[in-house]
């Protein structure tokens, strides 16, 4: 059985692409056959995060317009051999791919993969409509900020209108210290508005930035908190019941060190 998941958020910059890359790699680390499709035509980034930019030959627009078979456009990950990327065009725009074309493509791909992840562009326009058209499950990414939660709410409404019933929530960039002090929305605040099943709580972690720059998703870094959070998400997607991690409080020494800028 193949599961098609769209990663969406409404607001830009909350970590859709990062989440797609990490979950994709995480599933592949478990030996699953995974395809990640970038639908952010014109503003593609997924290839960068996976470190595959230089291997792209064909793109999504070539496939949907019938120029090449999708298998020719797939880029295999250099490290995880069951992970494939279907990049999108950098020169065309969102109108280049129609929802029904993506549905047709995904239907064809279902037989070959265990999971297909679709990276959705920000916004509510045609790109979004295209990205969600083929999905069984929607993963909504939000950050603990009021604007991001508001947009996620709107997106959930739109998903409902498109008859996407299975919607799961991922909260990204949590800063435990700020939550503790009450300066940041906590999980209860978010749940109260969105009331969705949450499958991930990812702390804000500098390792994400360095990993992104290197083209190696943070999930591969054992010591990283965010990497651990992503591994938990992957486990939950695979049906395991994993408790949410508790963020260690900053110890007295660490706080002292920070105070003196050490």
């Amino acid at each position: 059985m193949c599961e098609v998941m769209v990663v969406t958020s409404g607001k830009g910059g909350v970590g859709k692409t990062t989440t797609t890359a990490n979950i994709g790699v995480g599933l592949a680390m478990r030996g699953k056959r995974v395809a990640v499709i970038d639908t952010d035509t014109g503003l593609r980034n997924l290839d960068l995060l996976l470190g595959l930019e230089n291997r792209i030959m064909y793109d999504l627009v070539d496939v949907t317009s019938g120029r090449v078979a999708y298998k020719k456009a797939l880029v295999r990950h250099k490290k995880f051999e069951t992970l494939y990327l279907l990049p999108t065009s950098q020169v065309r725009d969102k109108s280049a791919v129609k929802p029904e074309q993506l549905v047709e493509l995904v239907t064809e791909m279902r037989n070959e993969f265990d999971y297909i992840l679709i990276d959705c562009p920000a916004g509510l326009e045609q790109g979004f409509q295209t990205a969600i058209a083929a999905a069984d499950v929607a993963l909504v990414v939000t950050t603990p900020e009021i604007s991001s939660v508001r947009d996620a709410d709107k997106i959930i409404g739109e998903l409902g209108r498109a008859d996407k019933e299975t919607i799961k929530l991922i909260v990204n960039r949590i800063r435990p210290m700020m939550v503790e002090k009450g300066d940041m929305l906590n999980m209860d605040d978010i749940n109260e508005i969105l009331s969705l099943e949450c499958i991930g709580q990812i702390p804000d972690d500098e390792a994400v930035v360095t990993a992104t720059n290197r083209g190696e998703p943070v999930i591969t870094i054992d010591s990283s908190m965010a990497g651990r959070a992503y591994r938990n998400i992957v486990a939950r997607i695979c049906g395991e019941a994993v408790p949410f991690m508790t963020f260690p409080r900053e110890g007295f020494l660490a706080r002292l060190r920070r105070l003196f800028g050490m």
């Binding site: 508001r150 709410d153 709107k154 409404g157 409902g160 605040d189 508005i193 009331s195």
Partner: protein, 214 residues
């Protein structure tokens, strides 16, 4: 045949009489009296309302007939015009309920950007999130938390009200009145403050929110 002199038709209120043409009034009068006084074949049971179409006889003859009917315990009236297509209220089919009386039931949470417009009342089983809007001609009842914008009595009904389990909307509008959430209240504080059902209605020219039980 005497039977043809008087014709009877059932109406909503009783019997309407009409008469064969070219028959003189005295003959009709005796016929009616004989019918009323005979025991067999008397259709005029006591209390029946009998009517004769206006203009059938001159006023004085009408008055005489009225007197005869009244003596026999029947009520008499002059029908103004032919009753056509008598529509009894109970025969109305449900879809003939006027728009304003229909209630729209929403069985899910209204999320940001969603809008419900109704001529009548609206009931929501779920929350109304910030950015969602309800505009109703009638009342609004929310079985959940209301954080969006609600407008009851949108077509001018000042008696309309808004009820919610947890009423913390961005704006409440009732008819032409308007009220918004205070700027200086911390949202978290607001959550604690009104954790019971409340009802907003117009009193003395302003929107008043008061706790209710339900």
């Amino acid at each position: 045949m005497s039977g043809e002199i008087i014709r009877m038709k059932g109406t909503r209120t009783g019997l309407e009489l009409s008469f064969a043409e070219g028959v003189s009034f005295p003959r009709i009068e005796t016929e009616i009296i004989s019918r009323l006084e005979s025991i067999e074949g008397n259709f005029f049971t006591r209390g029946t309302e009998v009517s004769i179409r206006n203009g059938t006889f001159p006023g004085d003859q009408m008055a005489r007939l009225k007197k005869i009917f009244n003596q026999h315990g029947l009520r008499f009236s002059v029908a103004e015009k032919v009753e056509k297509n008598i529509d009894l209220p109970m025969e109305k089919s449900p879809d003939k309920v006027p728009e304003e009386e229909k209630m729209i039931v929403v069985n899910h949470t209204l999320r940001g950007g969603q809008e419900i417009r109704a001529k009548g009342s609206v009931m929501v089983f779920g929350n109304v999130n910030p950015g969602a809007q309800i505009i109703a001609g009638g009342n609004i009842d929310i079985r959940g938390t209301c954080r969006g914008i609600v407008h009851a009595g949108a077509f001018g009904d000042v008696n309309a009200f808004v009820v919610a389990d947890h009423l913390i909307p961005l704006q409440i509008r009732i008819a032409d009145f308007f009220s918004r959430s205070p700027d200086d209240l911390d949202p978290a504080e607001l959550n604690v403050k009104s954790n019971y059902p409340e009802r907003a209605s117009v009193k003395d020219g302003q929107i008043v929110v008061e706790p209710i039980k339900r």
